[in-house]
């Protein structure tokens, strides 16, 4: 059995204790999207302030476990100021680290192709989550919510 230190790396606990970009943005102009994990009741709210195809600002609301909160916090730091296209690459790289291969899911690719070469930085600390399959959903909740938010913003433009 993998140990607790595999899951709860210090940097994860740091983001859990001191979440970055926590709060709300005024809507409009910002866009608000909610995400739920129906299994455990966790809720994430993603506020995006986009200019063209760049995320100028992001805030995270809601409540959840250390993994979902830390993942959301790290995500917000990683994608702030980035273009939608860069964010898509980061998301794909993050999900590949979580053993989720979207090309494979939709049948368009093999397991390891097409994963963008992106430096994940702090997010690397979440790699251990893969050893705890039940918790992968915790780590990906904010990312799925972000993807939905970006799709909504793109559609509205």
């Amino acid at each position: 059995m993998p140990g607790l230190e595999d899951l709860y790396r210090e940097i994860i606990l740091d983001h859990y204790r001191s979440p970055r970009n926590k709060g709300e943005l005024e809507t409009p102009p910002a866009h608000r999207t909610e995400g739920f994990n129906p299994l455990c009741g966790d809720e994430i709210v993603v506020y995006i302030d986009a200019e063209g195809h760049v995320v100028k600002d992001i805030k995270i609301g809601g409540q959840g476990c250390s993994i979902s909160q830390a993942s959301a916090s790290m995500m917000s730091s990683a994608i702030k100021g980035k273009t939608f296209s860069d964010i898509k690459d980061i998301t794909r790289a993050f999900k590949a680290m979580m053993s989720i291969h979207e090309g494979k899911l939709d049948g368009s690719g093999t397991e390891h192709d097409d994963v963008p070469e992106v430096k994940l930085g702090d997010l690397e600390a979440l790699r251990g989550v893969v050893k705890f399959p039940v918790r992968i959903k915790c780590a990906t909740l904010s990312w799925n919510t972000l993807a939905e938010a970006l799709a909504e913003v793109s559609e509205a433009n």
Binding site: C40, Q63, C65
Partner: protein, 410 residues
């Protein structure tokens, strides 16, 4: 006679397994209980020696399987003090039992403007079927509130019952452990002309049950929370009510006659058991009931009250002020369901740390999101006790909770 828990534990093979190097400490019986070997043996014997479809063939095996399943029905009826085995309808789970009432009785008896009363402490299984019916039929859902002590607040009961057709209420909360005053609610409901459906999933496995004394009209419970297998639930209802209700699922086994022009439903309980039933599961359920009766439900209840009291005392003392145990503080007013809040530690994280110690508790909203909202939490970590748990299990829980508290303290 008090329970010999060490002997009980030996009957449950799973309790001697290890999770890594830790002894398994199973504290999720409110989610699903474990099985004594007597239950799996009864099911294996049935499959090995007696299996055939029920109510069909005239050969020996079909006779045997039919009489085994009907004996299971009689056992189930006797266990809860039912008047006749015809009042026992086997379903696939308690959720289906409640849906059966909503679809059959609800559709036949409720019309726009009618009201169904539920409570804020219901499991989704006793909320969503009524919400679906409310949407379909335009009926009103009214909510009995939960007070800060974790009891139903019955102050406005008469007003809520005014013009209501049904009260759907949990006999014992799967989150708070609260044992609700069903008799009082049933008397008030009947005086107001309403029927009462009890979600008895957490009650029947843990307390001596006299369905007549509870005074309700419908009750639902499930096999897998009372040492039985998954795949079988029970709807109990007064015979006259079941008689008057239209069928639920249509198909084989529930008809007297079928022509091109239509069908005539069979009598009870076949009318509500379309298709091949969970035969082995009903036999397993009866074996579970035999097991519970051999121990004695009074002894089971006594053991759980005493272990719950010990757990509440020990956890409060050792884990300290960061710990909240939701629900009634008096063990005699509750079951052994301990919903825990540890300040600064999310229930998911608590459960993860506990798993490292082999301690199984359930994090989440426990299919009671309206109650979570009342409690002001997103989730809790729930430890639930049963007849095979002892003070060592509670000690292991306390030790693991202390580690979780300290690991996440900052």
């Amino acid at each position: 006679m008090s329970l010999d828990v060490a002997a009980v534990k030996r009957d449950f093979p799973i309790l001697s397994r290890k999770i890594e190097h830790n002894r398994l400490v199973y504290l999720d019986s409110a989610g699903s209980s474990q099985h004594p070997r007597q239950v799996t043996e009864a099911m294996t014997t049935y499959y090995d020696l007696h299996h055939a479809n029920v109510h069909r063939g005239v050969y020996t095996l079909a006779e045997e399987s039919t009489s085994m399943m009907e004996a299971a029905r009689a056992t189930t009826s006797r266990f809860i003090g039912g008047a006749t085995a015809n009042e026992i309808v086997f379903t696939k789970n308690a959720t289906e039992a409640i849906n059966l009432v909503a679809h059959s009785w609800g559709r036949a008896n409720l019309a726009e403007g009618d009201a169904v009363v539920v409570t804020q402490m219901e499991h989704h299984a006793n909320i969503v079927p009524w919400q679906m019916l409310a949407t379909e039929k335009g009926i009103e859902l009214r909510w009995i509130p939960v007070d800060e002590r974790g009891h139903l607040d019955l102050t406005d009961l008469d007003r809520l019952l005014d013009g209501a057709s049904l009260v759907a209420v949990s006999a014992m909360s799967n989150v708070l452990g609260t044992i609700n005053p069903l008799r009082r609610i049933a008397d008030a409901a009947h005086a107001a002309g309403a029927l009462v459906l009890a979600d008895a999933c957490q009650y029947v496995p843990h307390l001596p049950t006299s369905i007549q004394e509870l005074g309700v009209d419908f009750a639902a419970f499930s096999g897998h929370k009372m040492l039985g297998p998954t795949g079988v639930g029970v709807l109990w209802a007064r015979e006259a009510l079941l008689d008057a209700m239209p069928p639920f699922l249509g198909g084989g086994g529930m008809i007297l006659d079928v022509t091109q022009d239509g069908f005539i439903p069979d009598g009870l309980p076949a009318k509500f058991e379309a298709g091949t039933p969970p035969i082995a599961e009903t036999i397993g359920l009866a074996a579970a009931i035999d097991y519970l009766e051999a121990l004695g439900m009074d002894a089971v209840r006594e053991h759980e009250v005493s272990l719950t009291a010990h757990a509440m005392r020990l956890l409060t003392e050792t884990v300290g002020e960061k710990l909240t145990i939701h629900g009634p503080t008096e063990p005699s007013e509750r079951g052994g369901v301990l919903s825990l809040d540890l300040e600064g530690v999310h229930p998911h994280d608590i459960s993860q740390v506990l798993d490292q110690h082999g301690v199984c508790v359930r994090p989440g909203h426990h299919c009671a999101k309206p109650l979570m909202k009342v409690l002001g939490v997103g989730a809790t970590a729930r430890a639930s006790l049963y007849l095979y748990n002892d003070e060592d299990d509670v000690d292991a829980l306390a030790a693991a909770l202390i580690e979780a508290r300290d690991f996440f303290s900052f």
